[in-house]
Amino acid sequence: MENYFVGIDAGSTYIKIAFIDTESTLAGYDHKPTGIDANGTTKNMIEAICAEKGINSAQIKSIMATGYSRRNIEIARSTVTEIKAHGAGAIWAAPQDISIRTVIDIGGQDSKIIVMDKNGEILNFAMNDKCAAGTGRFLESLARVLELDIDQLGPMSLNSNMPLSINSTCVVFAESEVISLVARKKSREDIVAGIHRSLSKRITGMARKAGAIPEILLTGGGGLNKGIAKALEEELFMEIHLPTYPQLNGAIGAALLGKLEI
């Protein structure tokens, strides 16, 4: 009977769950909007995965929660900060033969830079949880202004040759700026590329202060967006690697840490 270790990344917008087995392979996962009742949503998600994969509760040896609402998850047996969780997840998600030393996590409402040594021990970190610039919210708001789906942003930005500059730091004022660019008949590709560039500038500032070094892994919702990866490469002058499951990085890391504890 296989044993499983559960990791919960209870963010403020989305809850991500990952199931890891004893071989440290990903056995099941899910992500859903948090809604009002983080606790209830989590419980339902776990039960759903168990039902789908035919796992009974005795096989679950640890439940580790991370993320902003981690302390509210009753079903969790212990908690860990997202810094540590993302670091652990990055070691797991690292592409073949690449030693990940920096994790850039761009989430819905915050962003983090985590610098580690080759064994995954955290050396330094920086967080932005006070301002929407540099987070997924920046992209969401501006996508809405341009009447686009957020998934379209990445591919569109890659098609641009001349990213425009968006000067406003604050997302609210950036919206007005984007509207005026549209009125001036600028191409949407260029505007979108400019949005990505603005985001990556915020992140780069934070990354430099934290002492980011290659190789870099991009996680969170931002990790789905190749446009951000390109923009970051151009600002940081370092290669950005994308994991297979960027949004699950925290949950996977939490599960792995839970497994270590046992």
Binding site: T81, K84, N119, F125
Partner: protein, 440 residues
């Protein structure tokens, strides 16, 4: 309601909110399990100042009313004030409620300590501030200099010029002159009921000795905190040290002797407050002052223990003794001037490399695992020194977490995340380091 009634009402509401905050902090301190009864004196001092609003209770000079002189920073000599027959009260303040009122006078991005002081001074009501009719302020940093100007709207302010280029000859000259000037002013201002208000060598000698006793007890508690068996929490130590601002030196020293005896006992019996593996944190930077126990509170909540506070409200305030060898005024005044300027490592001095030596020494002696560098919003001079402190730590390898905050309790959650991650980092390092030591 006429203006007098509105003012009265405003004062009552203000004092009540200040008292509420202080009471919440004291409640948390008093309910620490197995806490020594020797702490009660210090908590009572805070109670009397902030909650009961009755400083005279702790000053217990009922038969002879002594004048209270307000002072700021750690460079104004208390010995001179005691020798003149008055009582010094350090008014550097940590109240969020007062800092909100102070924003009428202090720029929004300015130092919260100064905002808090202005708040208490402009909105009268807290007797500890009201009873000081003279306030002595040194020209340390920008904020203190302008505080002097703003405060003069409400109180008599004596500015004392602190030269900033410490090593220059002219600096020592200016500072000694300022000390004599302060002495003269005190003699003129303080009238005791029985004539004679001169600061004589004998009175100064007594005052120096009283302070020396307090300094000796501080060194004792520092030695206790150096032990890997922690018997006192950082937030308790901070409250004890902060109570020195208000309590008379002799009473405080007596209570400290009892506390130190108790704590030494606890070390003997092994009654520690936390596990030996808890990460030992040094808080450096801008001062945290009661009731702003936010930073040590969060650190200790997240599993660390604060073993030393490098700020000017911590042990540094009372560490250095006055080293006169002769009991004549000349030698005493000279030694007092030296004690208050030479070993002070406030970043308002330039250059300030002595502070780096002190931090290095502290990190080694207290077996510190990590440094939490506390920068108050607007405190540019402490912020300037962060990278130098980081450089010094590269040799010994301790990580540093820079936290910028003010007195507002709203950013507690964000601070918690950072501090928790930092402590996790330290725990992992400690574990790895221990596991790599060879078994002999």
């Amino acid at each position: 309601m006429n203006t007098i009634e509105t003012d009265q009402k405003r004062k009552e509401l203000f004092l009540r909110s200040v008292a509420r905050h202080a009471a919440a902090e004291l409640e948390q301190l008093r309910t620490i399990p197995k806490s020594s009864p020797a702490f009660d004196y210090f908590y009572d001092v805070m109670d009397a100042i902030f909650i009961q609003n009755d400083p005279e209770r702790i000053l217990n000079y009922s038969h002879e009313k002594k004048q209270m002189i307000g002072i700021y920073c750690m460079v104004i000599p208390e010995e001179l004030i005691y020798a003149a027959g008055a009582v010094p009260i350090r008014l550097c303040s940590g109240s969020f409620e007062a800092s909100q009122i102070g924003e009428d006078f202090v720029p929004r991005d300015g130092c919260p300590l100064v905002k808090s002081a202005m708040g208490f001074s402009s909105q009268s009501g807290l007797k500890a501030f009201d009873m000081c009719d003279v306030v002595v302020i040194p020209t340390t940093c920008d904020a203190k200099r302008k505080l002097g100007e703003e405060l003069s709207l409400f109180k008599e302010v004596w500015m004392v010029e602190l030269p900033h280029i410490k090593n220059a000859d002219f600096s020592r000259q200016i500072w000694v002159e300022q000390m004599y000037a302060l002495k003269a002013r005190l003699e003129k201002h303080v009238r005791t009921s029985w004539a004679k208000n001169r600061i004589t060598a004998q009175r100064l000698s007594n005052a120096i000795k009283n302070s020396a006793r307090a300094q000796s007890e501080i060194r004792r508690v520092m030695a206790i905190r150096k032990s890997t068996q922690s018997v006192i929490w950082g937030r308790q130590a901070m409250t004890v040290l902060n109570s020195y601002f208000y309590a008379p030196v002799t009473d405080w020293t007596e209570a400290m002797v009892r506390l130190n005896n108790d704590l030494s006992d606890k070390i003997q019996k092994g009654e520690t407050v936390c596990h030996e593996k808890s990460p030992r944190i040094l808080i450096a930077g801008s001062p945290g002052i009661f009731p702003n126990l936010k930073i040590p509170g969060i650190v200790e909540e997240m599993g660390g223990v604060v073993v030393n506070d490098e700020s000017c409200a911590g042990e540094r305030y009372l560490y250095d003794p006055v080293g006169n060898t002769e009991n004549n005024l000349r030698d005493q005044m000279n030694s007092i001037a030296s004690r208050y300027m030479a070993p002070c490592v406030c970043p308002s001095f330039t250059p300030n490399s002595d502070r780096l030596f002190m931090i290095k020494k502290m990190v080694a002696e207290y077996a510190v695992d990590g440094i939490l560098y506390h920068v108050l919003k607007g405190c540019v001079i402490y912020d300037f020194e962060v990278h130098r402190v980081e450089d010094v730590l590269k040799e010994s390898g301790q990580p540093l977490l820079r936290i910028e905050t003010d007195y507002n309790p709203e950013d507690v959650e964000q601070l918690r995340t950072r501090v928790e991650a930092f402590i996790e980092m330290l725990k992992a390092r400690k574990k790895n380091r221990n596991s790599t030591t060879p078994i002999s």
